[in-house]
Symmetry: C2
């Protein structure tokens, strides 16, 4: 029997298939968003039937969260590293901002996965990725709070409400700026944005420390 090519391998082991699915899902979610993507789409892309995805990832949310996980870790690590590498508080803030905006420039597709239904979803009941994105946010807020606290003079007792308010503000500002940059035709460079934000906030932060 003349067979031009060997028949394509149908069966793969679980790990390999999971990887395939994840890659396809990342791409399709990135292109069409969460709502715009159906499980059948992903299944077709992988060349597999839908229930198999359910068997491996449990639900559409599960698949989406899996897509986010890598991303999340990378993003957090990138920014944390930049902050930790800085020599003083002022530089740490600036470096963190730059790392944040730069990362999102470097991973536009990943970013759109995060944004769509994720960044936006604030209500845990609303979105699937809401919880996951909230975790990222919480981690950043923790990071910012820590930076603010460390910048406080030794003797001063921090007003926790104030620190929380400031951390939330900075987190909100950076998120909105990221979204804005991703949608405007010619966004300013990460450095420019970071610089401006730094200028806007730094003096106020100093004042807090000495009030």
């Amino acid at each position: 029997m003349v067979e031009g090519v060997e028949p394509p391998k149908r069966r793969r082991n679980r790990a390999a298939r999971e990887r395939e699915m994840l890659e396809a899902a990342e791409r399709i979610f990135g292109e069409r968003g969460y709502q715009g993507t159906s499980m059948d789409d992903v299944a077709a892309e992988v060349g597999v039937s839908k229930p198999l995805i359910y068997q491996y990832y449990g639900s559409k949310d599960g698949l989406f969260l899996a897509c986010l996980a890598r991303l999340r870790a990378q993003l957090l690590e990138t920014v944390s590293d930049a902050v930790m590498a800085a020599t003083d508080a002022e530089d740490a803030l600036y470096a963190g901002f730059v790392a944040w905006f730069q990362f999102l420039d470097d991973h536009p597709q990943a970013w759109s996965v995060l944004i769509d239904e994720g960044m936006l979803s604030t209500n845990p009941a609303a979105g699937p990725a809401a919880a996951a994105t909230d975790e990222v946010r919480a981690a950043f807020i923790e990071l910012i709070s820590a930076m603010v606290r460390m910048n406080l003079p030794p003797g001063r007792t921090a007003d926790n409400d104030e620190i929380e308010i400031i951390a939330q503000s900075i987190s909100g500002a950076t998120e909105r700026l990221a979204i804005w940059r991703s949608r405007v035709p010619a966004p300013p460079t990460p450095e420019k944005v970071a610089r401006t934000l730094q200028d806007l906030l730094w003096q106020g932060l100093q004042t807090l420390s000495t009030a």
Copy 2:
């Protein structure tokens, strides 16, 4: 035939029904979010069949947008009024913040309508209310930009990028703070939050004006 009460009026005119539908929709969206609400739910609540809602509002998005419209107008007006009533720039900023947080405290249900899938949706393709919420945001950003510009010394040529960055930051900060306040058990008062935010930003804003 003994009829205890007169048979309930079934038929109403269009305007009255539209109002009924809008009220029901506002309540249900407020409770269960956009995704969690089905058109059948709303129809049942009003005591009417689903197609009637479609006849009047066109689509689920249409209904949701109608809910947002009032809210939107009120919110914008409240904050604008507060800003306009202020005597100087510093007070205008503070008054605007207070008005914003206060309004959201006073309309928690309305607020949750705005947040859920609305505030969050940044991608036009993602959500239905995305466009509407973006309009609110755009209006605020315009307002903030104007305030910043007016606070500039007469001779200075403004760097438009910087002003945009600042306006986006402030908008993002206030949004995030509002969401945070709505979810934390004992949020600080509007005045406290406004004060802290004011302290954080004011000096930076002054610096921009004289840089």
